[in-house]
C-alpha cells in the first residue's frame, strides 16, 4: 500500500503545483508578461512600438465605442468596423464631392469642403513640420459623425429596438448587426468602388522624435486626437449625470429602470456618443492607412480582441486593450515571421490567449 499512497501524494502535489502555476499565469503572470514584453518592445523595437501606440490609439477609440454599446445595449455590434469605414468615406465625400463607380470619377456635389479658401493647405505642426491635410478634413469629420449618428439612431428605431422589445437573444442581434455590416460595405463599394483612396495627395511629411524614431507627422496628430477624445469620453462617463446613468444601466439595467432612469433616452445617447467615436476613429484610421472598403471588416477582429482583452463593458479596459493589440501587431511584424499584410492575425492569437487565461479580460468584464 505504501508505494500506492506515495504515488497518490505525488499526484496531489503535482496537481497543486499545476493549479498554482495556472493561477499565477492567469493573474499576476499576465500583467508581468504585458509589462515585460512592453518594456522589451519599447527598448529594442522602438520604431514599431511608437507606430503601435498610434495604431493602438485608433483601436482604443473603436473599442471604447464597442464596449460602451455592449455595456448599455448588451449586444456585440458587429457593424462597428464597417461603420468606421462608412463614416470615413462620408468624410471623403463631403471633402471632395467625389463618387466613384463603374464609370470615371464623378463630382456629385456642386460644392465641397475642399473648395473653401485654404481648406487643402497643409496644417502647420509645432516645430518645422506640417500635416498632410488641411482644415477641410477636420470640418469633414462633423458631417461624417452626424451621418453615422443618424444611421445608428435609425437602425435603433427600425432594427435593434424592435428586436430588444421582442426579447431577441444575443445571436439574433449578432446576425442582425453582421447583416448591417455587409450592407454598409456594399454601399461603400457601390458608391466609391474597391480601389484605395486618400484624403490628401502627395508625400506625407515626417517628424523626427527622440531615440532616432521617425514617424509620419499625421500619426502624432492621430495619437493626440484619439487620446484627447478618449479622455473626454472618460470624463463624460465618470463626471456627468448622463455618463453615470450609462454606467448604471451597464451595471444593472433593471435597477436603473426602477431608479427612474429613462433607458430609451440613455440608449439614444449611447448611439450618439458611439457614433461620434466611430466617425472619429474611422477618419483617423483612413488617415493612418487609407480608405479601403474591406478595412472595416478586417479591423473587426482587432477591435473585438481589444474589447475582450480589457474586459467587455469596461471603458478603461478598452483603452488598455487597444494599446496592447496595436503595439503587439506592429512589433510582431518586426520579428520577421509574419508579413505586414497578416498583422491582424496577431489579434486573433491574443484573443484566444486571453479567452483561455482570463475570460473576463484584464479588468474583469462580462463573460457573455
Amino acid at each position: 500500500m505504501a508505494p500506492f499512497t506515495q504515488s497518490l501524494r505525488a499526484d496531489e502535489r503535482a496537481m497543486r503545483l499545476l493549479r498554482s502555476a495556472g493561477e499565477f499565469a492567469s493573474g499576476p503572470g499576465v500583467w508581468l508578461a504585458i509589462i515585460g514584453v512592453g518594456t522589451w518592445a519599447a527598448i529594442d523595437r522602438t520604431d514599431a512600438f511608437v507606430v503601435g501606440i498610434v495604431s493602438g490609439s485608433i483601436l482604443a477609440l473603436g473599442a471604447l465605442g464597442l464596449t460602451l454599446l455592449f455595456g448599455v445595449l448588451r449586444f456585440a455590434h458587429f457593424a462597428h468596423g464597417d461603420s468606421m469605414m462608412l463614416s470615413a468615406y462620408i468624410a471623403f465625400f463631403v471633402l471632395t464631392g467625389v463618387i466613384f463607380g463603374e464609370r470615371a470619377d464623378t463630382e456629385l456635389l456642386p460644392w465641397s469642403l475642399n473648395d473653401l479658401p485654404g481648406a487643402t493647405d497643409r496644417i502647420p505642426w509645432p516645430g518645422e513640420g506640417e500635416l498632410s491635410f488641411g482644415y477641410g478634413l477636420l470640418l469633414a469629420m462633423i458631417p461624417a459623425a452626424g451621418f453615422i449618428i443618424a444611421v445608428f439612431l435609425l437602425l435603433e428605431k427600425l432594427v435593434y429596438g424592435p428586436l430588444r422589445r421582442r426579447g431577441s437573444g444575443v445571436v439574433i442581434f449578432a446576425i442582425a448587426s453582421l447583416g448591417i455590416a455587409i450592407a454598409m460595405r456594399s454601399v461603400i463599394l457601390v458608391f466609391w468602388g474597391p480601389s484605395p483612396r486618400f484624403y490628401a495627395p502627395g508625400i506625407r511629411p515626417t517628424t523626427d522624435l527622440p531615440f532616432d524614431v521617425r514617424i509620419v507627422t499625421d500619426q502624432i496628430f492621430i495619437l493626440f486626437a484619439a487620446v484627447g477624445l478618449a479622455a473626454l469620453v472618460y470624463l463624460m462617463l465618470y463626471r456627468t449625470k448622463l455618463g453615470k446613468a450609462m454606467r448604471a444601466i451597464a451595471d444593472n439595467a433593471d435597477l436603473a429602470r426602477v431608479s427612474g432612469i429613462d433607458a430609451d433616452r440613455i440608449t439614444s445617447w449611447t448611439w450618439i456618443i458611439g457614433g461620434g467615436l466611430v466617425a472619429t476613429a474611422g477618419v483617423l484610421l483612413a488617415l493612418q492607412a487609407q480608405l479601403q472598403p474591406k478595412l472595416g471588416f478586417v479591423l473587426l477582429l482587432p477591435l473585438f480582441a481589444a474589447t475582450i482583452l480589457g474586459g467587455i463593458g469596461r471603458p478603461h479596459g478598452a483603452l488598455v486593450g487597444g494599446m496592447i493589440v496595436g503595439i503587439t501587431q506592429e512589433v510582431a511584424v518586426t520579428l520577421g515571421f509574419i508579413s505586414p499584410g497578416y498583422k491582424f492575425s496577431v489579434a486573433f492569437v491574443l484573443l484566444i490567449t486571453i479567452l483561455l487565461l482570463r475570460p473576463k479580460g484584464l479588468f474583469g468584464g462580462s463573460e457573455q
Binding site: R247, A248, D251, L255, S259, G260, I261, D262
Partner: protein, 236 residues
C-alpha cells in the same frame, strides 16, 4: 381616518401567459407600515412589481395619493412619490456609494442638493465611505444603501421587497429599526416579507396572500395572535 396613499383594487397580473395575481386588493394609509405575508409563490413580490409598473396590470386599478397610476412607467411613478427597493441586486455594484445615491435622485432635473446629507444622517455608516464602490459592501450595508438610494426622492410610499432576505439575525434587527425610523419621518411603507414575525412586529396592519388572492387582513397585532397565521407562518 388617515388618507389612503396607495390603493390597489382587483389587481390581476402575471408573467406572459401565466397569471399570478387573480384580483388582489390592498390599501396603505398615510404614515403607515403595512406587511404582506404569505407562503412562497403567493405573489407578494409580483404585487410590488405590478404596483411599480414593472408588470402590466389588466384588469385592476392602482391609485397613488388618489391619482390613477395603473400601468404608469417607473420613472413617472418615482416623480409622483413612489419608491421601490428590489429584493436582490439592489445596488449598482460598480458605482460608488455617492453615485448610487445620485442615481436614486436621477429624475430630479435640478440635482439632489442637500438630500445627500439628509440621507447620510439617517445612514451614518455610509457617510464615511461615500467614495467606495458599492460592490465592496457587505450584504447588510448593501441593504442600507438600497434603502438610502430609494429615500433620495423623499417618497411618500416605499415598497420594500424582502429587505431582510439573506441577512444575519443581528442585521435583520438593524434593518427593521431603520425601516421604523424611515416610517417615523412620515413615509408610508408597504413591506413584503418571509420573516413574518419581525415584519408584523413593526407593522400597523398586514395582509395574508396565498395563491395570488387575499386570504386575511387586519391589524398586525391581531394577525400575530391569529391561530391560522401562527400555524402557517410563525411556527407556533
Amino acid at each position: 381616518m388617515k388618507n389612503r396613499v396607495l390603493e390597489a383594487e382587483g389587481v390581476v397580473t402575471g408573467y406572459g401567459e401565466v397569471e399570478i395575481l387573480h384580483g388582489v386588493d390592498i390599501v396603505v394609509h398615510e404614515a403607515e407600515i403595512v406587511a404582506i405575508i404569505g407562503p412562497n409563490g403567493a405573489g407578494k413580490s409580483t404585487f410590488l412589481k405590478a404596483v411599480f409598473g414593472l408588470l402590466k396590470v389588466d384588469p385592476g386599478r392602482i391609485s397613488l395619493m388618489g391619482e390613477e397610476c395603473t400601468n404608469k412607467r417607473p420613472d413617472e411613478l418615482v416623480l409622483k412619490g413612489l419608491g421601490y427597493v428590489p429584493q436582490v441586486d439592489n445596488v449598482f455594484a460598480s458605482l460608488t456609494i455617492n453615485e448610487n445615491l445620485e442615481m436614486g435622485a436621477y429624475v430630479l432635473s435640478d440635482g439632489a442638493g442637500d438630500r445627500y446629507e439628509r440621507v447620510y444622517e439617517m445612514f451614518p455608516d455610509l457617510a464615511g465611505r461615500r467614495g467606495e464602490l458599492a460592490g465592496r459592501l457587505s450584504g447588510g450595508q448593501r441593504q442600507m444603501l438600497a434603502l438610502a438610494r430609494a429615500l433620495m426622492l423623499d417618497p411618500k410610499v416605499l415598497l420594500l421587497d424582502e429587505p431582510s432576505a439573506s441577512l444575519s439575525p443581528k442585521m435583520v434587527g438593524v434593518i427593521f429599526e431603520r425601516i421604523a425610523a424611515i416610517n417615523e419621518s412620515g413615509t408610508a411603507i408597504l413591506l413584503v416579507e418571509q420573516n413574518t414575525k419581525e415584519a408584523l412586529s413593526v407593522s400597523d396592519r398586514g395582509y395574508v396572500l396565498a395563491t395570488g388572492e387575499n386570504r386575511l387582513e387586519g391589524e398586525a397585532r391581531g394577525l400575530l395572535e391569529n391561530e391560522d397565521v401562527g400555524k402557517l407562518y410563525l411556527g407556533t
